[in-house]
Symmetry: C2
Subunit: 357 residues, 2 copies
DNA sequence: CGTTGTGAATAAATCGTTTCAATCGAGATG
DNA sequence: CATCTCGATTGAAACGATTTATTCACAACG
């Protein structure tokens, strides 16, 4: 059972040198058809599988890229991962997917691991705002592309969606619907996404000439359904409930929504809800969720292409900072009902009434 | 920037031999404290990172296990993956997550890749019913644990949930609710999950003394939301609609549900829906979804432990076949309404009325 | 004083590939 | 017939770590 067969044995069986076998594997065209066949036959017979470690050791670099995300259970990231995988596969690279659960410690460990693996490049949605680990990688010459992170580092590409504008879109919409007490349920403010989306929300207030006090914030430990449930219960317990809730992502929104529905609070009549990311499940929620859509798959695809391009021509590579634009998708969870509670400020700004999916 | 620093340079700086540096890395206790400190200082100063390929080449095996799933975008699998990752991390192993999208070709490619990486073991939910790739891996001496697959191979562990019983639970419930025209929306019958769940559904009919004609099947290409949408539209188009739909997994169910809700078909009054997996989003759906729950995370955790145990003591390892039991979680999407359409067969078999989550 | 024992460090062999300079054989050329 | 080309093949030297047998320094012991 334990039969690690090496290139050497293949060579022996095919009566050629190991160099020739290697050539069959890597540049089949330089070896004569007859011998090539012989070698291939030997490979098949012995069930030989190239030892990637040895290959890598010699050639210096792996054929893999690392993808480090905050939460694999979040469909936003798996959709993004799919984009990454497609692009990577096209270029003949494997993807090593790492999950940090928003933990700095886990992020550090994973980056360490990827460095040891000598991966070609790393795509990362940082959990550590200091970017310490990323800096170290860069020093070691590993290409890095920051995902969903503002263009802070000069020697690093980044692909992001303008979260600030996204936050502004969401809150502008809520204001237009007549809401003037809004709670933002957000993930850890340590994370850039949380900060930017919040900043955008404040922008919306400012541009509408509203006071900052219109927006209160509930911060929960993580951007997941559990966090949303917790925030939802907190809202229920309040004597005075806001008329609208803007959630930092859809998982939070789904959690909040679930609590409201179960408690008999009507959405959007009693409380409107807006999410962020527009994951597929948002449209299928108890009340279809208004959300800020990001081109998830395209983000991943673009990032992968960037990192591959950089590793292929490290010298003439220019570090790009690509920013996609978010798009508000209005659904029932925030749509004005026939009897609006407050009729002030009725703008007509809800035109892009995108369909279900 | 491009400075791949090796153990050799560390040795030079610390004025010791490479062997000693290796010892500091792997058995710190055998080296004198003073020199150990010196070496560690050198490592820090040079920013040395061990080359995992070289380590692996010499020691023969990687510290990683492969996890091959049918669809990373399915929360069922990401939850499972989380269980795998936890157990693997505890044992000091990394996890390489591979996505096959139910495609045999992709599965083959990924297994090839994992073999080249000389991973410790592989956990796989097979897309290829012939298990060809798995067989090859076994021949090469790689430990394999089959996930969600019946115990067919004698020399391979497996961790599964009794899908047949799960299917039976679901349909028995629907029959008890008085439905006698049921459509099963299922994924590719090539996949074991699809076959078993269908077989279970038939079991339910048999035990209830019903004719097989009670259950029709719509087979869609893949176990995802898109498939569910397609099936939903197909159902809508029918002149005569069934009173209940049993979906092979929750993504299909969410798709069907979405079509129904949008078309104004009332759930469960006009049509009841039951899903499978009980993913978190099932409880948050437009109509909270009745579903068959599987211990997702525990499946992953158990499988990882098995594969690690096997690789640590390959000889005395006994191949286990572990089967978990599914559990029906009844929610609104299938609950009897005040005015049942057909009042026959009113059993009391819906006791485990599990709460929302 | 010579022998032995012990803990610490070293030197060299090794893992399985890739790569590159060197070699070979055969046909073309002068 | 000697020489040159050129494609095909070979052999050996890396790559960067681990591992094992060996050496070394020095203290303990009879």
């Amino acid at each position: 059972m334990k039969t690690p067969v090496s290139i050497r044995e293949v060579a022996a069986l095919a009566k050629v040198s190991v160099g020739t076998v290697s050539n069959v594997l890597n540049r089949p065209d330089v070896v004569a058809p007859a011998t090539r066949e012989r070698v291939l036959a030997a490979i098949a017979e012995l069930g030989f599988v190239r030892n990637e470690s040895a290959r890598q050791l010699r050639s210096g670099t792996a054929r893999a890229i690392g993808l480090v995300v905050l939460d694999v259970a979040n469909p936003f990231f798996t959709d993004m991962a799919r984009g990454v995988e497609e692009a990577a596969t096209e270029a003949g690279h494997a993807v090593i997917l790492c999950n940090t659960d928003e933990s700095i410690a886990k992020e550090t460990r994973h980056l360490e691991l990827l460095a040891e693996q000598r991966v070609h490049g790393v795509l990362i949605t940082p959990a550590d705002p200091s970017l310490e680990g990323v800096r170290k990688l860069r020093e070691r010459g590993v290409s890095v592309v920051l995902l969903d992170y503002p263009a802070e580092l000069p020697d690093t590409c980044s692909v992001a969606v303008d979260d600030r504008t996204g936050g502004e879109l969401a809150v502008t919409h809520l204001l237009a619907e007549g809401h003037d007490e809004i709670v933002m349920v957000n993930g850890a403010s340590r994370l850039n996404q949380a900060r930017e989306r919040h900043a955008g929300a404040l922008d919306a207030l400012r541009k509408a000439g509203r006071d900052e006090s219109v927006l209160q914030v509930i911060e929960v430990p993580a951007f997941n359904v559990a966090g949303g449930l917790r925030a939802g219960e907190q809202l229920l317990a309040r004597a005075h409930r806001p008329s609208a809730v803007f959630c930092g992502n859809d998982l939070l929104a789904l959690g909040v929504l679930q609590v409201m529905v179960r408690a008999g609070v009507r959405v959007p009549d009693d409380v409107a809800i807006v999410g962020y990311d527009d994951i597929d499940f948002a449209a299928a929620a108890a009340v279809p969720l208004t959300s800020v859509r990001q081109p998830r798959q395209q983000i991943g695809r673009t990032a992968a292409q960037l990192v591959i391009a950089e590793t292929q021509a490290p010298e003439e590579h220019e570090h790009l900072h690509i920013t996609f634009s978010p798009e508000l998708v209005i659904r029932e969870s925030s749509r004005r009902t026939h009897k609006p509670k407050r009729s002030r400020n009725v703008s007509t700004r809800n035109s892009p009434l995108a369909a279900g999916r």
